[in-house]
């Protein structure tokens, strides 16, 4: 008899560890032997902690389960899948999950993420096995054909990046995984590292084979202690299992992988700042060129990719570029693990092909606001992404379509706000966040963000100081055009989008602000 309780940072924040202990305690008390498996989360977060039992080969889910409810689950014989107020039935039949197209997340939530034999059984290592039969050029070609674009934020074609590093001639090259995941409203990197760490390892080895790199680093943010523990364990097991090290799956090729933990700086998610930090220094942004692909870690050619980018690679290799490229729309190929959060009834992880509308995501999946009040705005693409109003929810998830309405895909986070939000205050927060996290290298960002905060204070005081909106727009214009990196360069997005779509939150009428917004 198997019982599954997620070992996932969020599930544990809702008491999953306590529930797991209570289940073991209660089983012992009743003289029942059961096997407790700590799986990853399926990402149906409104149901966490989501307990599953396996009886007669079928999984039945119960959630959300509290420690106090465990006794009643036993009383009602949940071990045989019997009725209970928290019973959700077969988890894979829950529409939220059934409607998704999970490629990266196909295994997550099903099993013990650290069981290597289970990983193999569920299709793991198929991509790596195929990659080992191909030349570097062929692997790069395959990834290029798949149309995969970077999932860290900039959406740069992964194949092209890899090609640059492949062509760079050097005795040492590196693969660096960006697991800094600093965007509020995002957690897909965390879920992969906690829920399927071997997938990331496999993706990084393939990247190494593709560009001729034999060493890699995962730069993980310090706010993810559970991910750190799980990944350290996964590294040990992958080394012991002959996957990492001198002789990858008996191929004679080698790849060495290390974990490096950041220290709480948002800007270190930017790849050049990350490389500085990985070298043990202050995370100051490097001017570009040179590109990290040519002069990266310790000036060596380096591929820097996001967790989800790298975790998308094994399935591309295993099932072929065409299968992947068939999903999605336009130049947005494949699937994106969207992360729904904020004020929604059903927040969670939704991996779907590009092309779905925001409306579908927010209402069919997300279930509308948790508060029951009108959904006023979403912030899409992280803290540097814009706020979009309900009138734009018909737009599809697509790099180019979103760009048309000044939106960004970013790392795939969507945060929903009900009508109690004030976008003027969110604009002030965006400036404050930028001031807090600025690396200080360039003036528009370092000084501009503080001036922006002061300006917002003035605007929000309601005194309508003449020219203050003009000043705000001008300031944003300078930050966009003269900042060295995206922190200073994109902080204006949440600010200006708020002003554009919700001028009343800044104390102005649409007609007053519209003429000023022409140039930005």
């Amino acid at each position: 008899m198997r019982v599954y309780v997620p070992r996932d940072f969020s599930a544990c924040a809702l008491g999953a560890d306590e529930v797991a202990r209570a289940i073991e305690r209660e089983a012992r008390r009743r003289g029942i032997t059961l096997e407790l498996v700590r799986n990853g989360s399926r990402g149906l977060y409104w149901l966490e902690p989501l307990v599953e039992v396996e009886s007669n080969g079928e999984r039945v889910a119960y959630g959300p389960v509290s420690e106090e409810e465990v006794e009643s689950l036993f009383d009602r014989n949940f071990l045989e899948g019997k009725e209970h107020p928290s019973r959700q039935g077969n988890p894979e039949e829950i529409p939220y999950l059934r409607r998704q197209k999970r490629l990266v997340f196909r295994r997550i939530g099903k099993n013990d993420p650290l069981a290597l034999d289970e990983y193999r059984k569920q299709g793991g290592l198929a991509g790596l096995t195929r990659a080992l039969t191909l030349s570097s050029q062929q692997i790069v070609e395959e990834v290029t054909k798949s149309g995969l674009r970077g999932r860290g934020g900039a959406g740069f074609p992964t194949g092209i990046k890899w090609k640059t590093t492949l062509q760079a001639v050097d005795d040492q090259k590196y693969i660096v995984c960006n697991a800094d995941e600093g965007d509020s409203g995002t957690f897909s990197d965390r879920m992969v590292i906690e829920g399927d760490p071997f997938l990331l390892i496999e993706g990084m080895i393939i990247a190494g084979l593709a560009v001729g790199a034999t060493e890699g680093y995962v730069y993980l943010r310090s706010e993810y202690p559970l991910a750190r523990r799980i990944f350290e364990e996964a590294l040990e097991r992958a080394r012991a299992g002959g996957i990492l090290g001198k002789d990858i799956l008996g191929s004679g090729k080698s790849f060495f992988l290390n974990l490096y933990v950041g220290a709480g700086a948002y800007v270190c998610g930017e790849e050049t700042s990350l490389l500085e930090s990985l070298e043990g220094k202050r995370g100051m942004i490097r001017p570009r060129p040179p590109l990290p692909a040519v002069h990266g870690l310790w000036q060596k050619p380096t591929v820097v990719n996001n967790v989800i980018t790298l975790a998308s690679v094994p399935v591309i290799l295993a099932e072929g570029a065409e299968a992947y490229a068939q999903l999605g729309v336009g130049r947005s190929k494949g699937t994106l693990p969207v992360q729904l959060s904020g004020n929604l009834r059903r927040p969670g992880l939704v991996e779907v092909p590009f092309g779905i509308t925001l409306e579908d995501l927010l209402f069919e999946y997300g279930g509308g606001t948790a508060s029951g009040r009108p959904l006023k705005a979403i912030q899409i693409g992280g803290p540097l992404g814009p706020y979009l109003p309900a009138s734009l929810f018909h737009v599809t998830l697509d790099y180019e379509e979103l760009a048309k309405v000044r939106g960004i895909v970013g790392h795939g986070g969507i945060v929903a706000f009900d009508d109690t939000v004030n976008l003027g205050e969110m604009a002030r927060y965006a400036m404050e966040f930028c001031a807090e996290e600025s690396c200080g290298k360039c003036t528009p960002c370092r000084i501009g963000s503080t001036r922006g905060m002061e300006l917002m204070d003035k605007i929000l005081s309601g005194k309508k100081a003449p020219g203050s909106i003009q000043l705000l727009v001008d300031l944003c214009d300078v930050m966009i055009n003269a900042s060295l990196c995206g922190l200073g360069g994109m902080t204006p997005f949440p600010v200006l989008s708020g002003l554009r779509h919700f001028p009343e939150d800044f104390g102005y009428a649409k007609e007053e602000v519209e003429p000023l917004l022409q140039k930005v």
Binding site: F9, G182, D183, T186, E223, A263, R282, G348, M426
Partner: protein
């Protein structure tokens, strides 16, 4: 965190010895030192600089760049609360207000009895289950003023 524990001889030396062998060992060393002492003791910076063959200014520069590292001891308990957007959308303002009022401190400060230090965090990756508060490294989701009050009481830190 083993804040305030008496140092046994040579502990810092051991940390420095093992991390200074790495080309990028300074940040991991800071993590290890802070894990051990609860903060990075200022008076030990010369020693740290020597071990890494860096100037004191360099070491200080790295240390102060990162939000994680502290030059001052913290209270017996550390309460970190998420200030970011996703938690705001779920009403973190009320949780933050409550914490500030109840503890009588602002972000970055420690209560007069040295019980609790209140720190801001920008996202725990718990965005689907916010508002988020961490107490001594243990994360709690779906927080409200009432629930946070219960946790404070549990740690004996509320008036």
């Amino acid at each position: 965190m083993e804040n305030g524990k008496v140092e046994s001889k040579g502990e810092l030396e051991d940390i420095l010895e093992s991390f200074s062998r790495l080309a990028n060992g300074l940040i991991p060393a800071f993590h290890a030192i802070q894990n051990r002492y609860g903060y990075i003791p200022k008076e030990r910076l010369p020693e740290i600089a020597r071990a890494f063959n860096l100037s004191q200014a360099d070491v200080y520069g790295v240390l102060t760049f990162y939000h994680d590292f502290r030059l001052e001891p913290v209270g017996r308990h550390v309460v970190s609360v998420c200030r970011a957007e996703a938690c705001q959308a779920n009403g973190s303002a009320a949780v933050i207000d409550h914490l500030r009022r109840k503890l009588g401190v602002d972000f970055g400060e420690t209560t007069a009895d040295e019980e609790v230090t209140l720190l801001p965090t920008y996202c725990f990756g718990n965005c689907a289950c916010g508002p988020s508060v961490a107490v001594d490294g243990k994360l709690y989701g779906r927080m409200s003023a009432e629930r946070v009050e219960r946790i404070l009481r549990g740690m004996g830190a509320s008036a």
